[in-house]
Point group: C2
Chain length 264, copies 2
């Protein structure tokens, strides 16, 4: 199955997920194609959340937004069904995580709007191609993520701290890391911060708020990118009556070629 999936098209991968044949994280699948975070909210919160994403493009880069009631991401994957094409979902009721289903067809309502938000898998692929290794992958962990002292820009009810992910980068690779990720503003883009964690309100690198800690070696500098967990954290913070997201690492696979969103 794994080998099949590695060589499958994006449509085939989504079909396998839809049929219940893949409920694991999507890292490494569909190389060269954008994967996205998912946030589903009722229409009465959709304008504010759309505004929030527009005001916070580094943490919430929008790849696609569905028409109210539609589960078809017509710009990014017209053959997909967002109710079933993600390996695992998180369902929140009044801000509490109540279910972790692999299909939400039964939960879908006619007033829902789905937001697909750029994911760091994409720029990690670009960094690795440029010879900059990902420590969390080497150590078999999730990328460490931290709440920062950098506020997001409020929109209606949505507000809260910017969440960042951290990757240690060798000093000699810092310039290239900035260049490579600057090409991809729709997947968080250039780093938010290079250097001292305390400058952005992080007190202990070994105690991430999400994910796992990783080793920072001699001669390496911690580099922080805006993180797609931000919109989920912010949305969860205001405890909407009903919200559905992807489960961490279980992303939506689009038909958009990564290179096609490179700005130069």
């Amino acid at each position: 199955m794994m080998n099949d999936m590695m060589n499958a098209t994006t449509d085939e991968i989504r079909q396998a997920i839809r049929q219940g044949n893949w409920d694991k994280p999507t890292s490494g699948l569909a190389n060269g194609f954008l994967q996205t975070n998912l946030v589903i909210l009722p229409k009465d919160m959709a304008f504010e959340f759309l505004l929030f994403c527009q005001r916070n493009p580094k943490s919430c880069p929008l790849i696609d937004v569905t028409d109210p009631g539609s589960y078809t991401p017509s710009l990014s994957a017209p053959s997909a069904d967002l109710r079933s094409d993600i390996p695992r979902y998180h369902v929140y009721r009044n801000g509490e995580l109540t279910e972790k289903p692999t299909d939400i067809t039964e939960l879908w309502q006619d007033d829902m709007v789905a937001f697909l938000i750029g994911c760091s898998f994409t720029f990690e692929e670009a960094l690795v191609k440029n010879g900059i290794p990902m420590r969390h992958n080497e150590e078999g962990r999730n990328v460490p993520m931290y709440k920062t002292s950098i506020p997001t820009v409020k929109a209606g009810r949505f507000e809260g701290p910017t969440v960042v992910s951290m990757r240690p980068v060798a000093e000699k690779d810092l310039v290239r890391a900035v260049q490579v990720t600057s090409r991809f503003p729709t997947v968080h883009g250039a780093p938010l911060h290079i250097g001292h964690p305390s400058s952005i309100g992080i007190t202990d690198l070994d105690q991430p708020d999400y994910g796992d800690s990783v080793t920072v070696k001699e001669g390496e500098v911690p580099v922080f990118w805006a993180c797609g967990v931000t919109p989920q954290a912010v949305a969860a913070h205001i405890k909407p009556p009903f919200m559905i997201t992807h489960a961490p690492g279980h992303m939506f696979i689009t038909d958009i070629k990564t290179e096609s969103v490179g700005v130069i």
Copy 2:
């Protein structure tokens, strides 16, 4: 007055406009700062229009969107008042242009949302700095604009053709023109098309749909950029009960430095 305005700060220029001391086009004012198009719509159309802009980022690059009811563009010019800081407005009722006031304070309603959309003045400045002259400025005309066969991506009621502006560029400068404008995705970015007008549904360069025709000289190629008239044309097309925009050429001046939105 003109000389004063040329050396004034963005805040001073907006004050002069607010006090009725400047009702002319803003081209050439506040060099180095972003100017924007303006579209004001009632809240019940705001989600659809925001979605439309999100889906059509080349023609509708959003610089700032106000909270419903607010006339303060808090991200782009916190000291501004969008009811008075634009030299001239166009007021549309049921799709018809009914008034051209210099102040809309009396017309402002509590449910209005203001959209500030990137303007080509910004990338023209970058082109000129790179030695690529603007023919319409040389000839003292407005830039020629054309409806194309390139459809915008529909969002709710909003749909219609993409409008482009055209600038003749010497063949030797084509590469640089693409590079320079690619840096600025928030002000229309890279060209939509280089070459034959007929490839994008334009039958006669001498008959623009908006603005004035300009001379295309021997050895020059017509280059087409997505145009900020698109959202106005699309919004006017669906004849909203009430809409306010800037008058062509009479833009909103922000506090955002042009260089700060360059992606690299």
